[in-house]
Amino acid sequence: MAGIGSFAYVVGDAEGRPEDIPGFEDLWRAVSPDTAFTAMGTGTYRKMTGPLVPYIVDCVAKVLSTHGVRAAEVDRLVLATSDAVLGLLGRDVAVEVMRAAGLTACVPAIVSLQQCCSSLEALRYAWGLAGAEVGADARNVVLVALDFTPDDRDRVKSFALFGDAVAGCLISRDHGGLTLAGTGLAADFSGMVGQDTFASRQAVARAALDQAFRQAGRVPGDVTKIFTSSLFAPIVSFNAMAAGQARELLHFQGPMTRYGHCGNADWLINLMDHTDKSGRERGALYLAQASAPGFFACALLEAG
């Protein structure tokens, strides 16, 4: 049985404040007219000041260092990113990361086109590579979720303020960790084209959550903590309400206040932030979830 662990993240090295973004007030007014930004709950964000690859390599090194796994022992590298960033990656990004990180014996892949839900689908894929599925033969899979926004003006959206970060973990047959008990992923085309409604957003969330709980043979009342996308506080409240989740189970506010919405890396960062503060509870059932226009994804993770 594989385990999911060795979590690590690297945020952009420069700290920014929303109000310092050129034309911030006009940008905010354009996406959320008549809404006070202060009600959103975001304080600062992080910005990458250099090329992306060194941040990924730094994150991979941190992931491998936890159990002293050598780079040459990694069989698979799974990158995950949101749609907008996919178009910004050079076609040699995997080779550059592998060369710089010494991952010379692994097969790379990228999972995307599901916005901020991409890394949860990547987790399911990575788990399959090292898990019990037919054809699974990897011992060590490194999963890396990355997202960044080159132009500060593009950070301002009606549902979140975007920050830059890379977050990862190791899915390994050699080292213990969390077990993937169930996953869910659902799409809502009306959301992809900006025509979703409260009801359609609720439906897509429920569809994905139902998948995951059914697979795991668990019920929502079993969940110990929820690591969700770091969106503005009112949006997170809405998403929790729509899914029938208790707000006190959500863990996102601290990282969201410090780092903003780091795209598909959020759930990983929030899980690590919680573990750093509270430790990992034996027998806990964690729900990692992400929502994006047109998508909802989730994963149930059991602590041994």
């Binding site: 959320s32 809404t35 009606s158 409604t197 609720q202 009112p234 309400m241 029938g244």
Partner: protein
């Protein structure tokens, strides 16, 4: 159940206290059917409902999944507000 005019008046009065709400009259709200017609964005209605719970129930009421589809139209919003009022602790 309160008369529809009382529910509507309560809602419009509350909107008047909220900085992100458009300036609306009773007649304008009475003649509208949807949230969009009132010029209230989906983000703002979430903030408004949250603010209403904070003000009327001191934040002690959990938002309910069945309220989600009701927030698209005026009748639904009025019903949600009525349910919040009915659920608010008496001492608040």
């Amino acid at each position: 159940m309160p008369d529809i005019d009382d529910r509507l008046r309560n809602f419009v009065d509350f909107l008047g206290t909220q900085p992100m709400a458009p300036d609306l009259t009773y007649d304008e709200v009475a003649q509208s059917r949807s949230r969009a017609e009132l010029g209230i964005s989906s983000l703002n209605i979430l903030i408004l409902v949250n603010s209403y719970i904070e003000e009327k129930a001191n934040g002690r009421i959990a938002l309910r999944p069945e309220w989600v589809p009701m927030l698209e139209d005026i009748d639904g919003i009025l019903s949600v507000i009525e349910e919040i009022d009915a659920s608010a602790p008496a001492e608040v």
